[in-house]
Symmetry: C2
Subunit: 337 residues, 2 copies
């Protein structure tokens, strides 16, 4: 399998992406192509000696985080991200990974790889750790305004993901809502509830946000605005709690002593909720494997994103999504919903 990594993406750029790629090649038995400014990449590569299975494709441009996504993709045809997408499109690679501009990644998936026929809107699917295992949040931010049909497609793709990637034959699928009763919610969730209930996907009902972190649901379905709020608030609460706890435990000598004794426990606690341990965020519903790594990814997160790409490839995630679309449904055009 061959993975193409946008080496210029992410807050830490090639220093991190190159290390992550080298580790992935060495540990996972995959080939990796790095797209980006060759001289910069080679500077990093020099640290690691010869690495078999790792190649560099030079690109003269970089899409920056402040670039407007669709314009950047159209104008910067020789950017590290555009070239990565074209390699997958043309069958030269099996998956694309980038920690760069999220909007550009979504646009690249949509406009270069294209939607799967029968999927109204591709979506970002975040596998997040809970005490009961992985829950999949979909959509985590690709579609700010949604219609019920979009959420049904998210549910279908989420189900495929949990079946192929986590071997859960009948994943529980919940709709994020303000109450568990069918009649609760806003217009979108009330309509979506009816659609999901009748869709033969194994819909489990509404879930309140309170029950998400505990891992009650295998698949957590919502519009991309709500999903983005959930994901970022989760991050924010973790950060605020972490720094406040640290401050408390460092505030007296006795507590400091205690903190030393519980240190391994705190570390294990932190690790259980660490995104980097779980790789990137797949963009589901496009013709190809696309994985968004967090902007602040470290090398481990990049390596884990490659691991995830490999597992998605081995488990034929994209084919599984296509195979499990309802046969009767007409292909739907973007914007017609």
């Amino acid at each position: 399998m061959k993975v193409v990594i946008d080496a210029m993406g992410g807050d830490y750029g090639p220093e991190v992406t190159v290390k992550g790629a080298v580790d992935a090649v060495n540990s996972l038995g995959v080939e990796v192509v790095l797209t980006g400014v060759e001289s910069t990449i080679n500077e990093q590569l020099a640290k690691y000696g010869k690495v078999n299975g790792l190649t560099v494709v030079h690109c003269s441009e970089v899409i920056e985080n402040h670039d407007k996504p669709s314009i950047a993709l159209r104008r910067k045809k020789d950017s590290s991200m555009s070239v990565a997408f074209r390699m997958v499109k043309e069958g030269e690679a099996d998956a694309v990974i980038s920690a760069g501009n999220t909007g550009a990644l979504l646009a690249g998936g949509l406009f270069i790889l294209g939607r799967i026929k029968g999927i109204s809107r591709p979506a970002l699917a975040v596998p997040f750790p809970t005490p009961r295992g992985i829950s999949l949040l979909i959509d985590a931010g690709a579609n700010a305004d949604c219609k019920p049909q979009h959420l049904l497609d998210f549910a279908r793709m989420g189900k495929s993901f949990m079946q192929t990637m986590h071997n859960i034959e009948q994943p529980t699928i919940f709709l994020v809502n303000v109450g568990i009763e069918e009649e609760k919610g806003n217009e979108l969730t009330k309509e979506t509830y009816k659609l999901l209930k009748n869709a033969d996907i194994g819909f489990s009902g509404n879930i309140e946000a309170r029950d998400i972190p505990e891992g009650v649901a295998d698949v957590v379905v919502c519009d991309g605005f709500t999903g983005n709020i959930i994901l970022k608030l989760y991050e924010g609460v973790a950060q605020t709690f972490g720094s406040t706890l640290k401050k408390e435990l460092m505030s007296t000598t006795i507590r400091k002593l205690g903190a030393i004794l519980v240190k391994s426990g705190l570390k294990s606690f932190k690790k259980q909720f660490d995104y980097a341990e779980h790789g990137g965020v797949p963009f589901l519903g496009v013709n190809g494997l696309v994985i968004k790594a967090h902007g602040s990814s470290n090398a481990l997160a990049i390596t884990n994103a490659v691991k995830q790409a490999k597992r998605s490839h081995d488990n034929q995630l994209v084919s599984h999504i296509i195979k499990h679309l309802p046969a009767t449904e007409e292909p739907q055009e973007e914007g017609s919903l």
Copy 2:
């Protein structure tokens, strides 16, 4: 000042509401009226001996959590909640507090007390603790579907709350969104951004959910669906982190020893994020003081809700909201927006 408490509301009912009321009367110098089934209330009151300033108004009915709010209010005219609202309406009490059915409380506020003229939609305003002090989340769940004008009104009421209750002359007001740039978001937030920017309320821009827990904003404005997700997810993350941390710290003998040494730190940490310490959730925009206590309120939470009602009354919160509405605006009818 006289506060009327729906003694039958909440998961723990009169056992908790009566104790909270007794403590409030004894410590805050307010009068309290308890509405509910007299025999049940008196059974609890017997524990405390004579309490000056506390009276009971017998009601034959109770609105249950599973009751449909508007129907319950119309049919159960002699319920502890309906009677409480009528006492405020008729000037026999200055504020109503209930830990009961939220929907019924909102309906009671709207239909018995009525909206303030010029406020398109009343909203639940949750003061939540952050490392930098109190942030106010508005709307936390009263209005699942919102229009930009509603959010502008939420912003105005939130500003009044922070000015009167927390002495912040110029509170920072942020709109919850998926990015900080003006053009980010869903249709609602994009339109709302323009409205807030031009409204002369001191709008500070968008806030991502990640920055909410740290207390970056004094007033956090969003539609009630989003607010409800934020509030409940915050609760859920706290709960899951708490139980996982506890499990880790109890898993070995050394950690257990360490946990004893850091215990006061953990307690202080927990207290900083504890809702019960901060009273209830005011329902702003109606003609009167209405405070929703958490369904799982303990006696301390009830007492703190009374404390909050007293401070709201002393600081003339409702008058302040009315006084600071834009003079040019026409009163708006419910449903016409």
